[in-house]
Amino acid sequence: MQAQILDIATSAAMLYAVAAGLLVIFGVMKIINFAHGAFLTLGGYCALLTTWAGISPWLAFPVAAIVGFIIGALVERFIVRPLYQRPLDAILATWGLGIILGQVITLIFGREVQFVQSPVQGTALVLDTDYSLYRLLLVPGAILVGVALAALLHGTRLGLAARAVIMNEALARGLGIDSDRVRSLTFGLGSALAALAGALITPLSSVDPAMGVPWLVNAFMLVMVAGRSLISLMVATVVLGGAQVLVSSYASPVLGGLTIAVLAAIILRIRPQGFARD
């Protein structure tokens, strides 16, 4: 049971890290970025490149975040921005972009599964359980991501501008806020978080061109349940991620893989606003 508690905490942390970027983009831009999984994959390959380069695996995280931010900002400028007035087309464009990014990654790195070096080795004794130290570190890592995002949103002018754009974009523009710049930075930030999440996950699994797909599905369902709140997202990742761990442990890993999507659909059927307050 102790091991399962740790599994729930660390799974929720991974899900939070993956879904946070998607939620940030959804909150400000009101579109779901279906290229999120591809950005996550991109982060995984950034970690692979740092392994190949023989430099510290810790550097994989800033490298992934920077690459994700730059490519995300470019995607926003040249693909998403011209489609602001057609949100459905913008969403489809991100879906297509995800496919293209996946193919480009395949062309460069091949289809084979590859492994990266973990920045932390060994185990720690927690709750009478010998548990992967790296996996444990994901919990404070995810909390750090959440705290940093909350500080950015509530403690900076950019965050204030982003909140104003979320609430009433027309009014925000009338007060001099450049909503295009806010959207560009937001898309870059969301993409950076996706790539960072990819780099965080890879030491626990492997890297391949399709690694982002299952994470995208779960992150999408979690964001649908959480709405636009980082707190609701935390609750959703613990509840649904916890259910996924329990189903995987007591039923089957195959059913566990479906748990988040099925539960999210049920929650949204009963309570359309999900875990959000209104």
């Binding site: 204030l160 501008a161 909140r163 009433n168 009014l171 523009r173 007060l175 001099g176």
Partner: protein
Amino acid sequence: MPSVTLMAEVIPALECRGLSSGYGEAVVIRHLDLVLRQGETLALLGKNGMGKSTLLKTVMGYLPALAGTVRLEGRTISGLPPQRIARQAVSYTPQDQALFPDLNVGDNLRLVVDDERALRTAVAHVGGYFPFIPDRLTQKAGTLSGGEQKMLLLARALISAPRVMLVDEITEGLQPSVVTRLVEVLRVEQRRLGFSLLIVEQNVRFALAVADRYAVLKQGEIADLGASADAGAETRIIDHLRL
């Protein structure tokens, strides 16, 4: 050769020439010529649907000019997006949804001020007129009373240090005492800051009390234009509003 001062006096704060605009196929403003002089207050009056709010939205860049131009202190601003017009010291207070109800009072003000020190000074200043503001900076704006929300709107417009203020029906639904307070504050601050004010109003008394001139809009055209101090101005305006 005219001096710089004389030139500044000649260039209007805001100038609409042959301006037409509307919503899609529906033309609401038709070939309108209007000048807002430096430092003056001009009240736009008219019945609902005559184009008063449409004119402000067009000046602010929310609606495209179908014909004609809008100039701000001599520079053409028609075609610019609202954020670029706002950054040229134009403050716009729309009639509806003019505050961020889920942001607190302080954040609603912070949006138009660049740094915290300037914000503190500005809050202290507007707190002289509206003492609730410095006392309730952390309260959500949506929980203020209707009158307090209008005072906050005026405070936000004032602390943005505008050259031109566009205000759409700020007196709607307010107690007479609050309206009187807003008139006093606008007068004092206009003398201090020297901004020009284009105000859309249904409240004729308020409009004439605060404005130097008035214009009555009918079917998107100016039906009457005159000085607020003219004898019989109120009667003429009311006649226009009845017809």
